[in-house]
């Protein structure tokens, strides 16, 4: 299984647009079965999966030593890890016997039972969504960076903002990048602000979980200072969502809806 995928993207560098092949990190889902029961789904990078599963079982106190494991069998193509423990305990999701019964995400927010592919799109953004101007994006990101007070002070938080394409309407910070977006959504709900014509700006990496929050609100555009994952790019393409990454200085990468951009 590849941990890095090459995808076609468009770059904008101070007015110069190019089509390029870019390396993006593969976002992979591994379902972990213990003694026959599905325990958890981990969203991860498909490299050293056996080590990941064993380390996770230890960190979460499911095992206290390696010798409790009879076998770990990883089916990489199917995204499944079968673990046999010597003890015959049956693992169940009742929240009392064991304390992991969720999808272990890169930064939380998804559910345990994901029966679809990471990049499946339930929600489609209207094809006539926002046209984006490169220079508008640059000025929005300049304003966004100026607002990141807490980050400047502590270096420890993620920021998110809501924009109408011209100005920043709301700005939120949190230790968790999902939380920063949830705060924006919560405030928009409280203030009865329509989201399906807005833009989200974020400091954090873009995984499918982040995009699902955006799609649930039919927000047509997301712009990040950081990298997207392969599955997030595929999900954006499948759902007509405009995805911009690495928007830093006078540069950005465009991963979907290439035709929606103009000078």
């Amino acid at each position: 299984m590849q941990d890095i995928l090459d995808l076609k993207i468009k770059t904008w560098n101070n007015g110069v647009v190019e089509e390029k092949i870019d390396s993006v990190i593969n976002e992979y889902m591994l379902r972990v079965f213990i003694n026959g029961t599905e325990l958890v789904s981990m969203i991860c990078t498909p490299k050293n999966l056996k080590e990941l599963v064993i380390g996770f079982l230890f960190s979460e106190s499911i095992i206290s030593e390696i010798d409790e494991i009879e076998e770990v069998n990883i089916e990489e193509e199917n995204g499944i890890a079968y673990v046999s423990l010597y003890r015959q305990e049956k693992f169940e999701y009742n929240g009392d016997n064991i304390n992991i019964k969720r999808t272990v995400t890169t930064s939380c927010g998804s559910s345990r039972t994901i029966s679809y592919s990471l990049a499946d799109a339930d929600i489609k953004i209207d094809k006539n969504n926002k046209i984006m101007e490169y220079n508008k994006i640059i000025s929005l990101m300049v304003e966004f960076n100026k607002k990141s007070e807490m980050f400047v002070k502590t270096g420890g938080v993620h920021s998110s903002a809501l924009s109408d394409g011209d100005n920043i309407l709301m700005f939120e910070e949190d230790i968790g990048r999902h939380n920063a977006i949830d705060k924006i959504v919560g405030r928009a709900l409280l203030e009865k602000i329509k989201l399906d014509d807005k833009i989200i700006l974020t400091s954090g990496r873009i995984s499918t979980e982040i995009l699902k929050k955006i799609l649930r609100n039919y927000i047509p555009v997301i712009i990040s200072k950081s990298a997207p994952t392969s599955a997030a790019i595929n999900l954006a393409v499948n759902s007509n969502l405009t995805l911009v990454g690495f928007a830093r200085g006078r540069k950005m990468n465009i991963y979907s809806n290439f035709e929606k951009f103009k000078e």
Copy 2:
């Protein structure tokens, strides 16, 4: 509730050691009750908590519009949010009715029911743990940065490494910063490598969840390129764990075990 706390730290800047007051992000736990049932604990920044709770309920499809909420009552000092929904549904943690029944962490890894303070230490590192030399730390971080291939290619992953204080013994990368550490732990278990005299290097921010993984393995030292949270610093102090952050270039911040450092 303060979202930023001022704590006493020690800085090392190219040979010059100073004591300073530094701003660190407050890591806060909010327990969310819906119609009287505890649904989830969120680890977050204590600012705009009402917006966070509402946005989260919407993102997780617990509500589909704001008018389903009768009341949100936040007890900030106690870290509790009481939500009343108009519908009389009883929320339970059975994993079928609702799909959130875990601690929503900044980056996953902890359990739903945390009855202790974030900074309580169950595990204490031996007081006679490793003495650290500033210049050794700098050279380890130089080596660590050189190894971050996937990050250089994709900008999308976190790295962790295991060191004996002189060399890097293992290096792992993953989309999730917890996963990168779990891979190290898993490999150490597989290779029967003792961890209680080693050092963990990481690219990611340090929250209590990360430290708990480190403490479970009795690893005495963690060094990060990024920021720690306030609760992580308190946990490090309470458990005698040596915590270094912002180790970049020829600079670093020291948050605990000040006396364990020498030129």
